[in-house]
C-alpha cells in the first residue's frame, strides 16, 4: 500500500477540483454563448462543415441580391414591351383608319402627325432605364439606347445575371432584337422606327399599297415584341421559382449551421447542472478529507 502524504493527496485533490471547475466553466461558456463550437479545436469536422455551410449561405444571399437585380430588369422590360405593344397597336388602328376610307390631306396630315408622335414616345419607351442604365442597349455604355432620330446607340452584348450557381439568366434583349434591325437602304423593311417614318410618309402620300404592306410588317414587328415580352416574362417566373427553391435550401443550410454550432439548451443545462453538482461534491469531499489529522484525536 502506498503512503498517502498531505502533499500528494492535496495535489491530486486540487487537480481533480480544477478538472471539475474547468468542465463547469466550459459548460457555462457554452450556455452563455449559445454555441457548442466556438473555435476550430472544439470540433474540427463540425467547424469545416459549418464554414462550408456559412460560405454557401452567404453565396446564396448574394445570389438573392442578384435575383433582385434580375427582377428589376425583367419587370422594367415587361413594362416597356407592354407600352410598346400598346403604341404599335395604336399606330395600327391609325393605319387602318387611313387606309379604309378616302380622306383629305388634312386628315392624312393629322394621322401622320399622330404616328410621328407615337414614334417619339416609342423611342422614349425604348430608352427605359433600370439602375441608371438603358435596358435595350446591350452592354454598351451611355445614357440612351436610341437617339431622337431612332438610331441604335447600343451594342449586341447580352446582360447576364447569375441567379443560382448553375443558372446565368439573360435579363435583357438588345434594341435590334426588340425593334428589328435597321436598314438604311430600305427604310420600309428596317427597324420599327424607320418603318414608322416611312409609314407616316405613306399616309401623307396616300400610298395605299405601301400602307397595306406596312400593316403586315407592323404585325410582324408586334409579334417580335410580344415574343420578347413573353420570353422575359417567363424568365421572371423562372427567377421566382429558382429563388424559392434556393430559399428552401437556405433554410436547410441555416438549420445545418445551427445544428453544427448551436447548443441544445436543455441538454447543455442538464450537463451544466450535473457538472455543477460534481464540482460542489468535489469541493465538499476535499474539504472533509483535508481537515482531520491525528492531531484532532491526540491530547
Amino acid at each position: 500500500m502506498s503512503r498517502v502524504t498531505s502533499f500528494s493527496s492535496s495535489a491530486l485533490m486540487l487537480a481533480d477540483v480544477f478538472d471539475a471547475q474547468r468542465a463547469l466553466t466550459r459548460a457555462q461558456s457554452q450556455i452563455a454563448s449559445g454555441k457548442k463550437v466556438q473555435k476550430a479545436s472544439d470540433g474540427p469536422a463540425e467547424v469545416v462543415a459549418s464554414l462550408d455551410s456559412r460560405a454557401q449561405l452567404r453565396r446564396s444571399e448574394q445570389l438573392d441580391r442578384n435575383a433582385g437585380v434580375a427582377r428589376q430588369w425583367l419587370a422594367a422590360s415587361d413594362g416597356a414591351t407592354q407600352s410598346i405593344i400598346e403604341r404599335v397597336s395604336a399606330v395600327r388602328s391609325l393605319l387602318i383608319q387611313a387606309n379604309s376610307a378616302p380622306s383629305g390631306p388634312n386628315t392624312r396630315t393629322a394621322i401622320a402627325d399622330q404616328i410621328n408622335s407615337l414614334r417619339q414616345s416609342l423611342i422614349e419607351s425604348a430608352n427605359t432605364t433600370v439602375l441608371g442604365r438603358p435596358i435595350f442597349s446591350g452592354t454598351a455604355g451611355g445614357q440612351l439606347a436610341y437617339d431622337s432620330t431612332g438610331a441604335y446607340l447600343g451594342d449586341a452584348g447580352t446582360v447576364i445575371v447569375p441567379v443560382t450557381r448553375a443558372v446565368n439568366l439573360q435579363v435583357a434583349r438588345t434594341g435590334p432584337e426588340v425593334f428589328g434591325v435597321s436598314n438604311p437602304s430600305d427604310p420600309a423593311n428596317g427597324d420599327l422606327f424607320q418603318m414608322l417614318t416611312s409609314l407616316s410618309q405613306a399616309v401623307m402620300n396616300g400610298d395605299s399599297a405601301a400602307l397595306t404592306a406596312g400593316l403586315s410588317k407592323l404585325d410582324t414587328a408586334t409579334d417580335r415584341v410580344q415574343r420578347v415580352q413573353v420570353e422575359l416574362g417567363s424568365r421572371l417566373n423562372q427567377v421566382n421559382d429558382l429563388r424559392s427553391a434556393a430559399a428552401a435550401n437556405d433554410t436547410e443550410l441555416k438549420a445545418a449551421i445551427s445544428q453544427l454550432e448551436d447548443i441544445d439548451l436543455a441538454e447543455a443545462t442538464i450537463a451544466f447542472k450535473s457538472r455543477e453538482a460534481s464540482y460542489q461534491a468535489a469541493l465538499q469531499v476535499t474539504a472533509r478529507i483535508i481537515q482531520p489529522s491525528l492531531l484532532d484525536f491526540l491530547r
Binding site: T5, L12, S41, Q62, R65, T139, P162
Partner: protein, 471 residues
C-alpha cells in the same frame, strides 16, 4: 560488565530518541516545503558482538542503542520516472499553449474571420457587376479587397510576432537554465565535500533535486548519480553539468528554415552550446517546444496562409487581365500586386488602387457595361480549389492539430500529476505518520528515563542500604 552500564544504556536510549524527535520535528516543520524529502532516523542496537567466536561466551545484554544514521527517503526509480515525464510535460504543455495562440489568431467560425472577409469580397464583385457603371459600387470592391488583404497581413504579422515572443521566451529560459546548471555544479561540490566530511547534506540534496527538476522541465535533460554523491546532467549528446563544472547554452539565430518551410524565407532559431557552438540535439521540455513553435509550427500555418494568398492573387489576376475596365485603356491590368504572393505581402495592385473605374467587370470582348467577368470572379467562391477551399482546409487542419495538442497536454498533465504524487507519497511528509512516530518516540524516551530511575533506585539500595545491618 559495569554496574553502571545499564545507566549508559538508558542514557543512549534518551539521546537516540531525542535525536529521533528532532528529526520528526524537522519533518513536521517542512510538511509543506516543496521538494523536501522526509528523513528517518535509523536506530541500531549498540554493543552487540559483531561476529561471535567459536569459544566465546557472550553473557552481555548490549549497550543500548545507537543512531546509525539519518536516511533521506528517496527512490531513484521514481525520480527517473518523474523526471522523464517532467521533460515531456514541459514540452507538450508549451506546445499546446502555442497552438492555442495560433488558433486565437484565426477565429473561425465567426462573422469577422477570414472566411467572412472572403465571402464579402466575392459578394462585392457580384454587386458591382449588377451596376457596372456605378463607381460607388465599384469602390466597395476595392474596400472589401483592402479589408481582405489587411486581414491576411494581420494574421501573418501576428504569426511573426508569435515567433518573436517564443524566441524571447526561449532566451529567458535558457538564461535560467544556465544559472540553474551553475547552481547544480556548486551544490555538487558542496555535497561531495560535506559527505566526505561526514556532515549531513540532505538539505543541500533536496535543493539540488528541486533545481534539477526545473532544468528538466525546461530542457528534457537526463541525470546520472555518481558514486561520490554528485549528480551529472546530460542534454542530448552533451553534458550540462559534470561534477562541479557546468556548460552554458545560448540561443542563436540559425540560417533559413529546414525544408519544407525553406520557401517561407523565415530564419530559424537554435539553441547551441556556448563553448563550441554545436547545436544541442534532442532538446525537449519547454525550450524544445518554443523552438518547435518557431521553426516548424508557426511556419507551417504561415505557409498554408501564403498558399491561400497566392491562390487569391493568381486566380484574380488571371481573370482580371482578360477583362477591361470602364476606360478605353483599362485592359490587361492586375487586380492584386503580382509581387505580393504571401499572406504578409498581398496588396492591391497600383493599377486599380483608388481607381474603381479601372476594375475589370467586362469581358475583353464585351461592351463597356458588360458584367460577365465580374460575375465570373464572384463565382470563384464556389471553386473547389480556390482560396476559400484552401482556407477551410487550413482551419480544419488547425482544429485537428490544436485538439490533438490539447489532448496530449491533458493526458500528459494527468500522468505527470500521478507520478509526482507517487514520488511525493514516498518523499513527502505524512503528518499522521509523524505524529504516530512522535508518540512512539516520546513513550520510548519516557521508558528510557524510567529505566534510568529504576537503575538509580537499585544502586541506591546497593550503596545506601547495604552493609548497615544492626546499625
Amino acid at each position: 560488565m559495569s554496574d553502571f552500564s545499564a545507566l549508559q544504556s538508558a542514557l543512549s536510549g534518551l539521546m537516540a530518541h531525542r535525536r529521533a524527535m528532532e528529526v520528526i520535528g524537522h519533518n513536521i516543520a517542512n510538511a509543506n516545503t516543496d521538494g523536501f524529502t522526509r528523513r528517518r532516523v535509523d536506530l541500531q542496537p549498540a554493543g552487540a558482538t559483531a561476529a561471535a567466536g567459536v569459544w566465546s561466551r557472550n553473557t552481555r545484554s548490549g549497550d543500548g542503542v545507537n543512531v546509525a544514521g539519518v536516511t533521506r527517503m528517496r527512490e531513484d526509480f521514481l525520480d527517473l520516472r518523474t523526471r522523464r515525464e517532467l521533460g515531456t510535460n514541459g514540452s507538450v504543455q508549451q506546445l499546446s499553449k502555442v497552438m492555442d495562440q495560433i488558433e486565437a489568431l484565426m477565429p473561425e467560425p465567426s462573422d469577422t474571420g477570414l472566411a467572412a472577409r472572403l465571402s464579402e469580397f466575392w459578394g462585392a464583385w457580384d454587386d458591382a457587376a449588377a451596376q457596372p457603371g456605378d463607381l460607388s459600387v465599384r469602390s466597395a470592391v476595392l474596400q472589401q479587397a483592402d479589408a481582405l488583404t489587411r486581414t491576411l497581413n494581420n494574421i501573418a504579422s501576428s504569426l511573426a510576432e508569435l515567433r518573436v515572443s517564443l524566441a524571447s521566451d526561449a532566451t529567458t529560459l535558457v538564461a535560467q537554465v544556465n544559472a540553474d546548471s551553475a547552481r547544480v555544479a556548486e551544490l555538487n561540490e558542496s555535497i561531495v565535500a560535506a559527505t566526505g566530511a561526514g556532515v549531513d547534506a540532505a538539505d543541500l540534496e533536496d535543493q539540488r533535486d528541486l533545481i534539477i527538476d526545473r532544468i528538466i522541465a525546461q530542457t528534457g535533460a537526463t541525470t546520472r548519480r555518481q558514486d561520490d554523491g554528485s549528480v551529472d546532467v546530460f542534454l542530448g549528446g552533451g553534458t550540462l553539468v559534470r561534477g562541479n563544472r557546468s556548460e552554458a547554452l545560448a540561443v542563436v539565430p540559425g540560417g533559413p528554415l529546414d525544408p519544407p518551410y525553406t520557401g517561407t524565407g523565415l530564419q530559424k532559431t537554435e539553441v547551441r552550446w556556448a563553448l563550441d557552438g554545436y547545436p544541442v540535439d534532442a532538446l525537449s521540455g519547454r525550450i524544445g517546444a518554443d523552438l518547435q513553435g518557431i521553426n516548424s509550427v508557426a511556419p507551417r500555418y504561415l505557409q498554408q496562409l501564403d498558399s491561400v494568398a497566392s491562390r487569391l492573387v493568381s486566380d484574380l489576376n488571371t481573370l482580371h487581365r482578360t477583362g477591361k475596365g470602364l476606360g478605353a485603356g483599362d485592359v490587361n491590368l492586375d487586380f492584386f500586386d503580382p509581387a505580393g504572393v504571401t499572406a504578409g505581402t498581398i496588396a492591391l495592385s497600383a493599377s486599380v488602387i483608388g481607381q474603381p473605374s479601372r476594375i475589370a467587370l467586362a469581358s475583353g470582348s464585351g461592351g463597356q457595361l458588360d458584367s460577365s467577368l465580374g460575375h465570373a470572379i464572384a463565382a470563384l467562391v464556389d471553386s473547389s480549389t480556390g482560396a476559400d477551399a484552401l482556407h477551410r482546409t487550413l482551419i480544419g487542419q488547425l482544429g485537428v492539430d490544436v485538439q490533438s495538442a490539447q489532448r496530449r497536454a491533458d493526458v500528459q498533465s494527468k500522468i505527470t500529476t500521478q507520478v509526482q504524487s507517487d514520488r511525493r507519497a514516498v518523499i513527502g511528509v505524512s503528518l499522521d505518520e509523524e505524529l504516530t512516530n512522535l508518540v512512539a518516540t516520546q513513550r520510548a524516551y519516557e521508558a528510557s528515563a524510567r529505566v534510568m530511575t529504576a537503575v538509580d533506585q537499585m544502586l541506591d539500595i546497593l550503596i545506601s542500604r547495604t552493609g548497615v545491618v544492626g546499625r
